[in-house]
């Protein structure tokens, strides 16, 4: 439930300029999908957004204030499995809430809620090594939504999953997003996924990364992959990238 403003974000590793004067806004409750060729610095972009990397120039504001990990509640879901193998599913989910010092009562209530949300009630006491890939990703999603984030960053979370599983998790994410109205920034290389889920689509160029195109996705929800208009939108985005 927050507005994100990025003005003239630039970053370079040594002499190599990675992010080149990127400016955009994400309104409250928006679902922004960022698409770009592999190796166009998407992960660097996300990490710079939350000051995990220090940036050379530009500013990032959440609800008007400079982004600060302690003040703002931000959740980050990555492609690599970020569940902690020494914690059970329940402890993993509570990790974020404990860091943000939720009250005991709220902690338990939220844990039940998100476990039900991703359908993992039965697996609360399992260890990550006993779970399949899609269940692990669900744990990360539950952990992220548990802290009621102002901003949810997702870096190709479904990159490794089978096709039918990916469809299912995409629908699930849209449902949760509609329920919680969280602002989501979702990065992917898969254009179909971006067109299927986004309210707005932003296309990045190759390094040094610039914003090539930023437009609203008019298709009504729920969308169908084989619809005429869907394929047309998908081709439009593909031509913008043309890495393939």
């Amino acid at each position: 439930m927050s507005k994100v403003e990025v003005n003239h974000l630039t970053k370079s590793f040594g002499s190599l300029k990675v992010l080149d004067d990127i400016s955009f806004q994400v309104n409250d409750g928006d679902f922004l999908c960022i698409v770009g060729p592999t190796g166009c610095g998407k992960t660097t972009f996300l990490n710079s957004l939350v000051k995990l990397y220090d940036i050379d120039d530009g500013e990032i504001l959440i609800n008007g204030e400079e982004v600060d990990l302690n003040k703002h509640s931000i959740a980050y879901i990555m492609q690599e499995y970020s569940t902690m193998s020494w914690l059970t599913v329940k402890e993993n989910i509570q990790f974020g809430m404990k860091v943000r010092k939720f009250s005991k009562e709220k902690l338990n209530r939220k844990t039940e809620e998100v476990l039900k949300m991703v359908g993992l009630e039965k697996f609360a006491d399992y260890y990550p090594e006993q779970l399949s890939a899609s269940m692990l990703q669900r744990v990360s999603i539950a952990r992220a939504f548990a802290v009621e984030p102002d901003l949810l960053l997702m870096d190709e979370p479904y990159g490794q999953l089978d096709l039918e599983l990916r469809f299912r998790l995409e629908d699930e994410l849209i449902r949760i997003w509609q329920e919680t109205k969280t602002t989501i920034v979702f990065i992917t290389h898969n254009i179909e996924e971006a067109v299927y889920m986004s309210q707005r689509i932003m296309v990045l160029t190759n390094k040094p990364t610039k914003v090539k195109e930023d437009f609203v996705n008019p298709l009504p929800l729920p969308r169908n992959v084989t619809e005429e208009k869907f394929i047309e939108m998908r081709n439009k985005v593909t031509n913008l990238i043309k890495w393939w």
Partner: protein, 247 residues
């Protein structure tokens, strides 16, 4: 070329019977590119190991070129998901490993290896070690190594499972190109519908555990196929309806 008749396999660990394959019968004709599509992990690799001769079926029979399969033989080449390259051998060493085991003289081995390294587009990388190659390049070495033993049948067990999406698309095109230049009978295993549709003459759909053959789809789209053509997407939609999800 390859025919499995009522093949089934049950694993037994400390008293507990676990039936993985149940009554699988399939035929693969000469130089046909057959894709075995199945959800998740159940049974596909076991079927490949049985066809390769590394594992034995508990019931039914598997014959290649009419001969019963009872152990690994150079006539059947395998490409693995984790590439299974020998880390201590260079690209040339890996590709030439089969002929070396067969006792071919060094000069002849080098030529053979060179031919297949060029076929998969890795000329210039003969002397590098696998640890320095990218995922896609390692898969190419795996394919070259299998080809270099000139097998009549090529078994590919989810070779692109670990690659990132863009390399995966490129590798699918690579396999298409290599196969059209040097036709072999191919049995390609995957859980990705798009990959199956892009490569297969025929798709055999397997069910969830215990694995049986659900149905077959004859794919006669012209090659090379286009991922976002309307017919491709329609076929994909149709097939994905039959695929059971794993949980």
């Amino acid at each position: 070329m390859i025919s499995c008749k009522h093949v089934s396999k049950t694993f037994e660990n400390n008293g507990q019977k676990n039936e993985v394959l149940k009554d699988i019968s399939l035929e693969v004709a000469e130089n046909e590119f057959v894709v075995i599509l199945g959800p998740g992990q159940c049974g596909k690799t076991t079927l490949v190991n049985i066809m390769a001769g590394l594992d034995h079926e508990t019931a039914g029979s598997v014959t290649v070129n009419g001969k019963q399969v009872d152990g690994p033989a150079p006539e059947r080449g395998v490409v693995y998901q984790k590439t299974a390259l020998f880390p201590w051998l260079t690209v040339e060493g890996n590709v030439g490993f089969g002929p070396k085991m067969a006792g071919l003289p060094k000069k002849e081995r080098k030529e053979k290896a060179k031919h297949y390294i060029d076929l998969v587009g890795l000329s210039g990388f003969e002397k590098s070690y696998p640890i320095k190659l990218s995922g896609g390049m390692r898969q190419r070495v795996g394919i070259a190594r299998a080809y270099c033993n000139n097998p009549s049948v090529l078994l590919m067990d989810e070779p692109f499972g670990h690659l990132d999406a863009q390399t995966r698309y490129l590798m699918q095109e690579e396999v298409e190109r290599i196969w059209s230049q040097d036709k072999r009978t191919v049995v390609f295993i995957t859980n990705n519908i798009e990959e199956a549709l892009y490569l297969a003459d025929r798709i055999i759909l397997l069910s969830n555990c215990p694995t049986t053959v659900r149905n077959e789809f004859k794919i006669d789209l012209p090659r090379p196929r286009d991922y976002i053509s309307p017919e491709f997407l329609k076929l994909r939609e149709e097939i994905s309806k039959h695929v059971e999800t794993t949980e």
